[in-house]
Symmetry: C2
Subunit: 361 residues, 2 copies
């Protein structure tokens, strides 16, 4: 499967769209927003460019991206005023895969600019927003054009399902869709290798695009220890695997197709990330925080339902592409929500997130 | 009507899409392609930037835009080789209104890059393609970032329907949708004023984005003499006006709605364009050519049908927005095609196009 041509968050603004189901990601990004803001201001005060280049990698199609861009602009504006510095020009680069619903982001731009102008008696900051479609595992932007890169809940997606999972066209990971208890050790090796290759290419590509002293704030799912199978992110894939097995047992999807379905996801450990940053050598890891998404869900929905809707908005394109339109995702994710709630009733689920602050050397 | 939020070429790749109905525009751009290519090479050989910024204003969603970008890259590549110069980095900025179907352009990017790599043993040129949504009647791009701007069949669209056409909320141009025989002189004045205001803002905005000696190639519909009503582009609006009158007489659309429908289009004369370039003062008009689109249509379709499909792909968004979904565009444009063919049988229709080459002073 060509991830670049298939994978995308569910577009539009409907009930199952990513736009409507990205509040967990928003909540998490908000928890560490003070660090993100602190970092962009540090960068700005250190480099004080006349034209500030900011990128959001994996911007997706919901309201999260533009809302954060507004915060960046206002923070830098505030700092400029305080220091009696002229306001820089903002160059904003929104990135996601070419199948992302950029149209819906672009349609909200006139309102974004109108809001920015509102309540400003003085000169409004000049903000130029562009969409740069492509995989961040490779070059995206011109040389040395960026000062600050932000990426939230994107880097745990690999460039592809690790080819090491397949032998003679058959998956060696029949029991699950990700590393699971029944996976042979070669499965986690294949995932680990793919992560190292991808993350290294990510760092190298960005190093050519970011100016010296430029910063990156990367928020990504990870795992707490060296064990791959834990009560964290791997458990969500275990549950998806179980739900798909139910669909297969009911004849809704083919068993053979299920056996060769694996996700292009990896929850790296702190050590793996630190090692790769050091090995690649272009960036200094200035800060690395571990945090958990809050499990309080507003409104009448259970935590399980919120997770199910989130995973659906993310996985829908891949599931339809692999299993065909016959798969009933309403039932699948109904089961998913129930199972997450059951697991939670038994024992806490602790999916963890890393926040990384990197400085270009 | 907010043109920025409504107006767009029909998206997707279906039978009535702009992608399928922009061959007239392509044919015309091809007729003057040698001038476009000559201009970008002159610019490149004069300025020889390490990083070449190219924009296409009004790129729309069909194949025309990326196909031309490929030609630009290959022309500059050829010239670099000949002169033993290192290949520049290409920064490509695709612009159209925020409602344009950028998604379909972006989806074809992986194939664009694959084609570019094909047949190249040596290093492939680095081409970074971005979408910059927004109205070109105002700033779009960062300061001094562009070397070459191209715009084909876009600048005859005004930023809005001239407000001067309305008095106490009612149109003073009841007989037509554009300047027609029955229009009072205040109608052509309102259109002319809007053109001057828009074109001047266009030039001023671009002058801040284009480096000194940068070039613009602008291809736009126009009129041959000072008369507004002629056998050129105005005739196509006259025919649309007649077709809408038929729809109104058949009760399909409201007469009141028809009376206040006017297009945000203007066919400027050579003098008007020259005057405005001189008055604004940032660019030198190096060349201005007049040419006509060929009227030979390949395949079984008549010229009238080809024009009707083209006008439909361009006008659909505006017609639906103004008249509601009840309007039957199949019938309307069937009538339109017939009338164009009848007119052609009587007497030639000569819609003219201008090509402008401008150099930043």
């Amino acid at each position: 499967m060509d991830v670049e041509k298939v994978f995308h968050m569910s577009g539009g603004v409907g009930k199952t769209s990513y736009a409507q189901n990205s509040s967990l990601q928003k909540k998490a990004s908000d928890m560490v927003k003070h660090i993100t803001m602190e970092t962009i201001l540090q960068l700005y005060n250190e480099v004080t460019p006349k034209s500030l280049g900011i990128a959001d990698l994996g911007c997706s199609s919901g309201p999260n991206s533009l809302s954060l861009i507004k915060d960046f602009v206002e923070a830098v504006e505030g700092s400029s005023h305080k220091m009696f510095r002229p306001l820089p020009e903002f160059r904003v680069f929104l990135n996601d895969l070419p199948t992302n619903d950029f149209n819906s982001v672009f349609k909200s731009l006139p309102d974004f600019h109108r809001d920015l102008k509102k309540d400003r008696n003085e000169r409004c900051p000049a903000v130029f927003i562009a969409g740069y479609p492509g995989s961040f595992y490779g070059r995206l932007f011109p040389n040395n054009c960026l000062h600050f890169i932000y990426s939230s809940y994107s880097l745990h997606w690999l460039s592809k399902v690790p080819p090491g999972l397949y032998e003679n066209g058959k998956s060696i990971n029949k029991g699950g869709v990700y590393i699971s208890k029944s996976s042979p050790p070669s499965v986690s090796r294949a995932y680990g290798n793919q992560f190292r290759e991808d993350f290294s290419l990510f760092l190298k590509s960005r190093s050519e695009e970011v100016v010296t002293s430029g910063r990156m704030v990367l928020i990504t799912l990870g795992r707490i220890g060296q064990e791959h199978v834990d009560r964290g992110n791997s458990l969500f894939w275990e549950i998806l695997s179980k739900c798909l097995a139910i669909s297969a047992s009911q004849g809704e999807i083919e068993k053979e197709k299920l056996e060769c379905y694996d996700v292009h996801f990896y929850a790296a450990s702190r050590n793996e990330i630190e090692d790769e940053v050091r090995r690649e050598g272009s960036f200094e890891l200035q800060r690395m925080e571990t945090f958990e998404i809050e499990k309080q869900v507003k409104g009448g929905d259970s935590y399980g339902t919120a997770v199910a809707m989130t995973v659906r908005a993310i996985q829908e394109s891949m599931l339809y592409n692999h299993f065909g339109d016959g798969i009933n995702l309403d039932i699948l994710f109904h089961n998913y929500a129930k199972m997450v709630d059951q697991e939670m009733a038994n024992q806490q689920i602790n999916p963890i997130t890393f926040l990384l602050v990197l400085k270009k050397l």
